[in-house]
């Protein structure tokens, strides 16, 4: 075990996979010489050289398009889109080209590629550099969607994403970059599509993702300590494939579900999980399904305002208590 930051785990995963397979290449803005604007890719240029780790112009369509073209001709490219908000400038390449081409061509080619990005709020960057768009990706058939909550998962899931034969959008939560965590030594790979039960409990299931996971854990502790409510906390980790088995098993046991998502309210991943449970596990439920989300607004910039809109541990606690009433 080594203590790594969430940030360091990114380069650790990429390095692990680049050492293993020389078809893995990496491109993006300021990722090579500068080591990334979040310092997530330091050292890679030195170790792997400029043919494998390449700085690009500010041309997100070219970056993502080139990633697609490389993937369909034998490479395993990794692209960085600096902030997830910028997916909007290259969304066509992601959703209409990469996501659809295998299906449309009757499986003639596959797209072993990863697009990483810094996602989410909490850094006081304002509305165009803070949003959570994992739900945009989940809504598109043909994309796998991963969002880790800790350094060990960053390393393991990113490695798995790079090995995966399908396109994976990998959402790193920027407010977690500084958090540290024990990461297994040696090769570390965590298969996609497995949610993780972080805390067991019998009264209510709390399903969370990325930055919401530590908040859910904190809420669970408060619920236990102050209200004797035993919450089970699940880190979804991967939205596609979605581990409904783990979620359903838990809800069958607790009979109550609260989802905690950072994306704005409408059509978030929590809505999908809620609707699945409302359809397939209805008879097991003993109360409403509650969704805790950022309200349906862009993120404000001032610290006080941003803190007011992002789901907090307190808000999670309050939602569970309301459900328990």
């Amino acid at each position: 075990m080594a203590l790594l930051s969430y940030r360091e785990a990114v380069s650790a995963a990429i390095a692990q996979e680049m050492r293993r397979d020389e078809l893995v290449v990496f491109l993006g803005e300021d990722i090579a010489a500068a080591g990334g604007v979040f310092k997530t890719t330091e050292g890679l240029l030195d170790e792997f050289g400029p043919m494998r780790v390449r700085d690009t112009p500010i041309s997100e369509q070219a970056i993502v398009g080139a990633t697609m073209g490389a993937a369909m001709t034998g490479l395993r490219p990794i692209a960085e889109i600096m902030f997830s908000d910028f997916f909007a400038v290259c969304w066509d390449l992601v959703v209409n080209q990469i996501a659809k081409t295998r299906f449309m061509t009757d499986g003639q080619c596959s797209f072993p590629l990863v697009i990483r990005c810094a996602n989410g709020g909490g850094a006081r960057f304002g509305a165009q550099h803070s949003q959570s768009v994992e739900n945009w990706a989940m809504a598109v058939p043909g994309l796998k969607v991963v969002a880790p909550s800790c350094a060990a998962d960053v390393k393991g899931l990113l490695a798995a994403a790079i090995r995966d034969p399908d396109p994976v959008l990998f959402f790193e939560q920027k407010s977690l970059y500084g958090t540290k965590d024990d990461v297994p030594d040696g090769e570390h790979v965590v298969p996609l599509g497995n949610a993780r039960v972080l805390r067991e409990g019998s009264d209510v299931t709390i399903v969370a993702l990325a930055a919401m996971v530590p908040r859910a854990m904190k809420a669970a502790q408060t619920l236990q300590d102050e209200h004797s409510i035993a919450a089970e906390v699940i880190d979804v980790r991967s939205l596609v494939p979605l581990d409904t088995t783990t979620i359903f098993t838990s809800v069958s046991k607790t009979a109550r579900l609260v989802t905690v998502e950072e994306n704005p309210r409408l059509c978030g991943w929590g809505a999908e999980v809620s609707s699945l449970v409302a359809e397939e596990l209805f008879w097991d439920l003993e109360g409403p399904i509650v969704r805790v989300t950022t309200p349906h607004v862009p993120l404000p910039s001032a610290d006080a305002l941003e803190d007011a809109v992002l789901p907090s541990a307190d808000r999670i606690v309050a939602s569970v208590l309301q459900l328990a009433d």
Binding site: V25, M51, R54, T56, P57, S59, E60, Q61, A62, I63, V64, G65, A66, T67, M68, G69, A70, A71, M72, T73, G74, L75, P77, D92, L93, N96, Q97, T101, R102, F103, M104, T105, D106, G107, Q108, C109, S110, P112, P141, G142, P165, D166, G193, V240, P241, L242, D243, T244, T245
Partner: protein, 342 residues
């Protein structure tokens, strides 16, 4: 300015006549495109092709010239107007017509349709129906070839209207700074769907007048002259293959029909259409071959062979049933499934 400046212009200037075999091949390729697309038009009119279909009747010299010049393992990327670009790579005509008709024998088993033909084994890397999207993808394939040192070149076809979309700009700059082995071919047929390109473009030659913005040589050629297209294609492919980087070639051509489906193309002045019909690339080439002493019989043989080919392809496609419904949710993922949960 770039040290390759003038290289392609010189190739155009000095374009000799291809050897006899190549010339017959050019004729054969053009003829195969022509008969296939004429048949596609008929099938559309008979409602056997549903949805839409974008024909390149009149633009065959471009597909043929590049098709003949490319190496088998080169990559080609095209648009919804890409039946010919796909066919010239050696793709089955039955599979193409079958796909247009939505039949089981279709190139994509009916899952893609007329706008998305791809045959990856032949290097036909797909037809893209969103303007400009394939331009960076072609750059990526070229990057891959460069990285793997495979000597392959990517050729990317697009229309005049495509020069005004952002992806055009990003792709050309990107291809140039990495000196990628990619040849961008703008088929300037004077119109986007119904709007004349001149009305919405700040320069006269939508591609060539922008080449210098990417450190590239400006090249405009007559796209209805198969020999010339072949010559410039050969030079550009050679430049790319030998590490000389990308190129951007504007070929002037014209579609005989409307933009798609049953569009009669009435927005085009009659004289313009008439003048271009005079410049039909196949008629011109046939006359030139004859004038250059090629036997009428070898030409007729090609024509008969392609006529038979399209008849057979149509018959086989007609005989093929609709695709099995089970495939409607397969092959989203590499494992063959479309499962999103586990």
């Amino acid at each position: 300015m770039d040290d390759t400046t003038g290289q392609l212009a010189a190739a155009v200037e000095n374009a000799g006549t291809p050897d006899a075999e190549t010339r017959l091949e050019l004729y054969r390729l053009m003829q195969s495109c022509r008969v296939m697309e004429q048949r596609a038009y008929d099938l559309f009119m008979q409602n056997l092709i549903k949805g839409t279909s974008h024909l390149a009747l009149g633009q065959e010299a471009v597909a043929a010239g590049f098709g003949a010049a490319m190496r088998d393992d080169d990559y080609s990327f095209c648009t919804y107007r890409g039946h010919n670009h796909t066919l010239v790579r050696g793709v089955s005509m039955t599979a193409i017509l079958g796909e247009l008709m939505g039949r089981e024998c279709g190139l994509l088993s009916g899952k893609g349709g007329s706008m998305h033909l791809m045959d990856i084994d032949k290097g036909a890397m797909g037809s893209y129906a969103i303007i400009g999207a394939h331009m960076p993808v072609a750059a990526g394939a070229a990057w891959s070839a460069q990285y793997r040192k495979s000597g392959q070149v990517a050729v990317c076809f697009f229309g005049d209207g495509t020069t005004n979309i952002g992806a055009f700009h990003e792709s050309l700059n990107f291809a140039k700074i990495w000196e990628l082995p990619v040849v961008y071919v703008c088929e300037n047929n004077l119109y986007m769907e119904y709007t004349p390109i001149a009305q919405v473009t700040a320069v006269a030659n939508p591609a060539a007048d922008r080449a210098s913005a990417y450190g590239l040589e400006p090249v405009v050629i007559d796209g209805n002259d198969a020999d010339l297209v072949y010559a410039v294609a050969s030079a550009a492919l050679e430049q790319a293959r030998s590490g000389g980087g990308p190129s951007l070639i504007e070929v002037q051509t014209y579609r005989h029909g409307g933009h798609s489906r049953a569009d009669p193309g009435k927005y085009r002045p009659d004289e313009e259409v008439a003048a271009w019909m005079e410049r039909d690339p196949i008629t011109i080439y046939r006359a030139r071959l004859l004038a250059d002493g090629v036997d009428e019989s070898s030409i007729a043989e090609i024509e008969a062979e392609q006529a038979a080919r399209v008849d057979k392809a149509e018959q086989m496609a007609r005989n093929s049933g609709p695709p099995p419904l089970e495939i409607a949710d397969t092959d989203l993922w590499a494992d063959g499934s479309s499962a999103w949960r586990c």
